[in-house]
Amino acid sequence: MPYLTQLFDVLVIGGGNAALCAAITARRAGASVLVVEHAPRAFRGGNSRHTRNFRAMHTGPTSVLTESYLEEEYWADLQKVTAGKTDEALARMTIRASTQAFAFMQSCDVKFQPSLTGTLSLSRTNAFFLGGGKALLNAYYLTAEKLGVNIIYDSEVTSLDLDDGFVRSVDITERGFPKTLHAKAVIACSGGFQANTGWMHELWGAAADNFVIRGTPYNRGFILKNLLAQGVHPVGDATQFHAVALDARAPKFDGGIATRLDSVPYSIVINRNAERFYDEGEDFWPKRYAIWGRLIAQQPGQIAYSIFDRNSRLLFMPSVYPAISAGSIEALAAALGLSTHALRQTVDSYNAAVGNGSFNPQTLDDCATTNLTPPKSHWARRIETPPFHGYPLRPGITFTYLGVKVNERAQVIMDNNKPSANLFASGEIMAGNILGQGYLAGFGMTIGAVFGCIAGQEAAHYAKN
């Protein structure tokens, strides 16, 4: 146990990718470092423990990345998903620094999967951690411990004493006991607020009760709220979040990757009134999966059902929960708790609108509906061969966009546009600066790693002078 009464050079709030990048970098720069992680050791690492890869610029093939992925293409990809809600200078800096982030991870003995040529569309752009995000965190923590970074678990930072943008002290509860700590510099890496049901309720009303939180239950945004209340400049829209379609049977928190469902393009999706509400076959699933959380969140009761028949059963990744199956549409409606009449009618009118295309899941095929609202543009086949299957779907929140404004040195910016002298931020708490909307697979981890390293460097530099 570290002596918490000592004056640390750098105090890091949080224990995920951004936090550990910051802590390790600051320690390597010679600072004494304390990491305050809210979760117990077994659940350390925030949302990073559910991640799998990060997006890295590279000029040629590497051991784990194929071909090349250059700044302009990376930037174009980011512009497409954010629709301009980004900061070009910060974004380009992050993109360029993603090469160093890869080197940093290797210096922490992080293991990567060999590139899976042809099997994953991301093998060119994203480096995959062997075993996923928890294995990445394990490597970070082992490195940090070896370097002499102090880490306390089960300890929550409750508030920062901010005096004109300067952190005077940090209040925490250390394993249930309140303490006030002092550090020369503080790095906030405490994530978003999606797991704060009260806050989500304020913004979304009763609908929020039906949201599933895909990641850690410890991202409650107390630090974010605390900082914004003390004159820190906000970025991002508080009401916005990234959400995908999850199996409704998923646990409220921490269900991670396994609870997502990929059946949508090969099914029809209906709400609890058994009505369709969006084009299931608009585009390839990887390009559309992130809009379905929002679509379901807008349906009554925030629930939907993906309905398909025997012919589509094996077209998508296996689900963690078995599909609900029945011998007839009516029996399936009963099993799902839907109106048999309404489901029959929806399936019949859908089937009647399906044309005779040649079905091909590998292309945007010509299996489209005619005279149906909403249409199904691709992969539309009649639902007619029993057994019939259904998955109940809920919106699964990945992260929120609201954050604190930072500059290129990861310094937190105050409402008067002046940077704080000794408060830095990295990770989901500031990702909204660069990713104001949408999502690019693996980019959250890139932002966390890049800004984590910058914040660690800057905080150590500040503390040592």
């Binding site: 559910h50 293991k111 999967q113 075993g131 995000g133 689900s319």
Partner: protein
């Protein structure tokens, strides 16, 4: 390749089997661990997990634990996914379920006790034989290291009959249970090339390397220790076996009688093998004692520790015999050493030793499946 339907299972499914199925269903929806070893890519070929499939996957698993420490669903997560412990339990059931002759399956229950009793019985039996055959006073006397001195205590023919009978029976029993396991684990068509791949993967412990950096023992860090110690043990064991064969040849072809001089093929092979076996089993026992008990539960540790101890004792008594063969304790050590070997031989098909055969069979199915297009 996609399996379409799970065939109806003729026998009842155990709790271990159900847990293995639940585990694989979670893993198949996650797939983060696909580069650790052969288990996950093999799992991805399946959508539903029949009893044969699960027995196959369980025996493909080395228990390297890479997936456990990387798992976002590992305990205390409510899903409590623990692939190495789950597979170890099912693997153990597959040894039991295919034991031959069938009633001997119960020897896997309390396997540590069974091996300990076999050891006591083996030593007692050899002591009895020695006392029965050795001329009066020969047992406790100092023996010159001269040809035939061992056989003054136990006649060569008795040694050979007991050795060949016990080892021969065990080989037959292991062969039969492996064939039964092979048939029950969904094996397909295989070729000589598949056999070569499987033997190579078994001999190099290819999948105990976690993808190149080693496996976990009792925490998140990686190490090649287990793989290297297992190599020392397994190849040490084979060298000891080679030493026995060399001795047999010297005896019957060259007409030279044991004990042999230090600079002879049987003694050199046996010494090298004994040192390897001693190092390997000692190291593995150490790792076993300091293991993470959530990944390697106590319920299954008894059989591991018993076999490792028996092998360690066989190596230690063999090397000790070499050191003291000219003294008056030679008789006692010879009896203890031969008794240990006897216990090892007769329990071979009812100890953790069968894992080598079952794993090779699983690697054979893996090599064949890996070779199939799609």
């Amino acid at each position: 390749m996609q399996k379409t339907e799970t065939p109806p299972c003729p026998t009842a499914e155990t709790a271990s089997l159900l847990e293995a199925r639940r585990t694989m269903e979670v893993c198949n929806a996650c797939r983060y661990c696909e580069s650790f070893c052969a288990v996950f890519p093999a799992m991805e070929q399946l959508r539903e997990f029949s009893k044969p499939d699960l027995n196959y996957l369980a025996n493909l698993c080395h228990g390297c634990r890479g997936c456990y420490y990387a798992c976002q669903y590992a305990p205390p997560h409510e899903w409590g996914i623990n692939v190495p412990a789950t597979m170890a339990a099912l693997r153990f059931e597959s040894y039991q379920g295919h034991a031959w002759p069938r009633p001997m399956a119960r020897l896997f229950n309390r396997n540590g006790t069974v091996l300990a009793l076999a050891l006591a019985g083996g030593i007692a039996m050899v002591l009895a034989l020695t006392l029965a055959f050795a001329p009066g006073g020969a047992f406790g006397a100092a023996h010159p290291v001269a040809p035939g001195s061992f056989y003054q205590l136990i006649p060569l023919i008795v040694m050979q009959i007991v050795g060949v009978a016990s080892f021969g029976f065990s080989l037959i029993a292991i062969a039969i249970s492996t064939i039964r396991f092979w048939r029950a684990s969904g094996s397909g068509k295989i070729s000589l090339r598949h056999a070569a791949t499987a033997l190579h993967n078994a001999a190099t412990l290819r999948f105990l390397s976690g993808g190149g950096h080693g496996c976990n023992n009792n925490d998140e860090s990686f190490s090649m220790a287990r793989r290297h110690l297992h190599h020392a043990m397994a190849y040490g064991f084979m060298l000891c076996f080679a030493a026995t064969c060399a001795g047999f040849l010297e005896e019957h072809i060259l007409g030279l009688q044991a004990p042999y001089p230090f600079l002879s093929l049987p003694v050199l092979l046996g010494t090298a093998g004994g040192i390897g076996l001693l190092t390997g089993t000692g190291g593995l026992l150490g790792l076993k004692l300091y293991r993470d008990r959530t990944v390697s539960p106590d319920a299954l540790a008894g059989s591991d520790i018993a076999l490792l101890s028996l092998l360690l004792l066989a190596a230690a008594t063999g090397l000790a015999l070499l050191a003291v063969r000219g003294t008056e304790v030679m008789g006692t050590l010879l009896a203890v050493h031969l008794g240990t070997i006897l216990a090892l031989f007769i329990t071979l098909p009812y100890s953790r030793m069968v894992h080598g055969a079952f794993r090779t069979a699983a690697l054979l199915r893996h090599a064949a499946e890996d070779d199939r297009p799609g």
